[in-house]
C-alpha cells in the first residue's frame, strides 16, 4: 500500500460513511477533537485530523500525536474477527504510540468508524467483510 493508495482507500471509506451514515462521520471527528493520528500501513502513510465536523485525511507522513502502524493483511484479520486488537498488540502486528489521552481519542474514533461501517452497505461493499468465511477463532 502506497501513500496514494492508502489515501484513496481512507477517502473512499469516509465517502461511504458520508453517504450512508453521516452521523458516524461526525462522531469520528468529535472523538478525535484536536488529536492528529498518523496511520502507517505497509509502505503508505497518512495523517487523520478533525475539521468541520468531519475527519480529513492528509496523504503522506508528518508530525502527529498518535502513530498507528500495521499491515494491510493484519488490518484485514482485525476487521474479519480473526484476531482481536489485544492479539495484535501482543503479537506486534499492531503498534500504537502516543499519550494515553491521545490513544483513547483515536480508539474512540476507530470505534465510531466501526459502528458506522457496520451500518453502511457501501462500507460493507468496500470491506467485503460482511460475509466472509468463518475460519477465525473457534470456541469449544
Amino acid at each position: 500500500v502506497s501513500d496514494t493508495d492508502l489515501h484513496a482507500r481512507v477517502d473512499a471509506a469516509f465517502a461511504a460513511l458520508a453517504a450512508d451514515s453521516p452521523w458516524h462521520l461526525g462522531a469520528i471527528a468529535r472523538a478525535l477533537l484536536d488529536t492528529v493520528a498518523r496511520l502507517e500501513v505497509d509502505e503508505g502513510a497518512l495523517r487523520l485530523a478533525a475539521a468541520h465536523e468531519a475527519p480529513v485525511a492528509l496523504p503522506g507522513p508528518g508530525p502527529a500525536d498518535v502513530t498507528v502502524r500495521t499491515t494491510a493483511a493484519a488490518f484485514r484479520r482485525l476487521i474479519t474477527g480473526q484476531e482481536t486488537l489485544r492479539d495484535q498488540l501482543r503479537a506486534g502486528a499492531l503498534d500504537l504510540r502516543g499519550t494515553p489521552a491521545h490513544l483513547l481519542r483515536v480508539e474512540a474514533a476507530w470505534r465510531a468508524w466501526l459502528h458506522g461501517a457496520v451500518r453502511s452497505p457501501r462500507s460493507a461493499a468496500l470491506l467485503q467483510g460482511s460475509h466472509l468465511p468463518c475460519d477465525g477463532p473457534l470456541a469449544g
Partner: protein, 337 residues
Amino acid sequence: VTHNPFHQAAAAHTWIRGGRYADGAAWKEWLHFVILGQDFEVIANVNLLGAVPTSPDARLILLVRRGGWRGNVWTTSDLKVLDGGRRLRVGGSEIAWTPRGWRLDLVLPDDGVALHAEILPGAGMRSVPRLPFGAGHEVQWNVLPWARATGEVHVAGEVIPLTDAPAYQDHNHGCFSWGGDFVWEWGAFLPDDAQPAVFSRLLDRSRHRVRAAGLMTWRDGHGDHFYGDLETSHTFRGRWRGPHPLTVPPSLSALVETGAVGIPAQVVVRGHRGHDADTISVTVASAVRLAVPAEADPLATVVVWELTGPATRARVRDGVTRLIDGRAILELVRVRH
C-alpha cells in the same frame, strides 16, 4: 401422515405474520430452531427485519458446533413468503410447515454449512403474548419446546446424520428496536424424552430491573406448570472462562471483542408452587455470539450470547423428586457501548 396430537396445536402459530398492519420498520419476526445432539449442536434462525409489505431484508443464521462452532449470518433482500405464510424462501434456503411438521433446507452461501431436516412436534405448543420489549413494544413468543429432528447437517466437509435428535423451536413476532431498553435471558432444557422446560426473563437494558420472568414445564409432552413472576428465581453462578468465542458476522467482532464479562459458568432456574417445584441447572460448556448493530443507539452493539451445556431438571411432585438429564441452550442478550 401419522396422527400427531401436537401438530394441530402448533399449526396455529406457524404461519408468517409479516407485520402487514404493524409499524413497518420496527417489525421483527423470526423462526428459531435448536437441535442438541450428543456431539453436535445446531442453531438455525430466519428472521425478517421490517414488515413484509415494505420488502424487508431477511437474515439467515446458521451455527453448528462440532468440536468448535462454525457458521455465519447472511442478510439478503431475496425473500418470499409463500402459501399464505406457511413457506418462507430466503435466497436458496427454505422453511416450510407441512402436514408432518417443519421442513428445513437451509444453506449458508459460501460457508459450507447447511441443514436439511424434518422437525416433528413432540410436545404441546405454548404461546406467551405481550412480552415487554421496551418503549411500549411487545412481542409474542410461541414455543414448541420439544421435537425430534431427522435429516443431516453439513459442516466443514462433514455430513452429520440426524436421527430423532431433541429439538426446540419458537416463532416470535412484534415491534421493537435492537438496543432499546430491554434484554432477554432465555433457556431451553432438552432431555431425550418429552419432559422439556423453557424459561425466560425480560430485564431493562442495564439489567437492574426484571420486568417479567417465567418457567414453563412439560410432562410427557403435555403442558405442566407455568411458574410466573412470583414463583421463579434465576441464579447466575461463577464466570464462564472458555476460549474466545466465535462472533458472527465477523465484521462486527472488533466491536464486541471484550471477553465473556458477565457470562455465568452455571445458571439455575427454579419454579416453586405449593408442594411442587422444578429446578433446571445448566453448566455452560460452549459459547458463540451473534452481534447486531443497535438501532436505538448509534454507538452500541447488541450481543446475543448462545451458550450450551449439560443440564438437569429436578422435578418435585407430591414430595417425590425425579431427576431428568439432558442438554440446554441459554441465550443472553447484552448491549455493549
